[in-house]
């Protein structure tokens, strides 16, 4: 793809950004589940590239949302510390494994987990 876009394309990309931000802000998550498929299907970006680009997009958005959330409530810093230490290790491991793991299996496993969890959250 060329580095310059038509106005219509620019509008489309910005709109994808707005929807990604809305979702990420409202649910504190899920920006990637919007922006990754949108990049793949609408903008025809290759899967691994769209995953990597998604992280670069959501990072500043999450910083923004964090600021708004934390200003409005008390945070459990101790729990956050344990989760963050685990998360750092997992993040490095995940990025290294990205090239080696079959995407089909990833989507299947996480799809099933998400459906089971969602039913518990709606019913609970």
């Amino acid at each position: 793809m060329e580095a310059t876009f038509l106005v219509k394309e620019k509008f489309k990309i910005i709109l994808v950004g707005v929807i990604t931000g809305l979702t990420n802000g409202l649910f504190g998550a899920g920006g990637g589940t919007i922006v990754v498929p949108a990049m793949e299907r609408i903008l025809k970006v290759e899967e691994h590239e769209s995953h990597a680009t998604a992280i670069a997009v959501i990072l500043p958005l999450s910083m923004m949302s964090t600021f708004i959330y934390v200003r409005h409530q008390i945070l459990d810093w101790k729990s956050l510390l344990y989760i963050a230490v685990g998360g750092m290790a997992g993040g490095i491991l995940g990025a290294k494994l990205l090239s080696r793991i079959s995407p089909q299996w990833l989507h299947k496993i996480f799809g099933i987990f998400m459906i089971v969890a969602s039913i518990r959250m709606i019913m609970g």
Partner: protein, 123 residues
């Protein structure tokens, strides 16, 4: 310990570009009994160091499409501000149920995507 394990698994997934929060938030509300707002705040903050760690490797592997980045971030900032203010004004139980509905659709999308890709690979 359970918090560390939940963090590790979510980090692994978000490093792969699949939303780690779709695992972290349900895990924190279901297994740890956290409120929806707390779980969402933790996910947002937790994502920052995790994303930085993953980004370092992605930048090195030149996987980021820079020409798309500024448009996506520009639109995203506007959406983020609106979405965050709506979230903090909502009741925790309602927000959890809304999150559940979102998660359900995302789960279906993940599985459908998987089926379509297998089909594409066979053809």
């Amino acid at each position: 310990m359970i918090l560390f394990v939940i963090g590790l698994l979510s980090g692994l997934i978000s490093g792969m570009g699949i939303g780690g929060g779709t695992v972290l938030i349900p895990a924190l509300t279901i297994f740890v009994g956290m409120s929806q707002h707390s779980a969402q705040s933790i996910n947002l903050i937790y994502f920052i160091p995790t994303a930085i760690a993953a980004l370092v490797i992605h930048i090195r592997n030149k996987r980021i499409r820079k020409e798309l980045l500024w448009f996506l971030i520009g639109g995203g900032v506007v959406g983020s501000v609106i979405g965050s203010f709506v979230a903090i004004s909502l009741d925790a139980v309602l927000l959890r149920k809304l999150f559940g509905v979102f998660l359900f659709y995302m789960g279906i999308a993940e599985i459908r995507k998987n089926k379509r890709k297998i089909k594409e690979n066979r053809e």
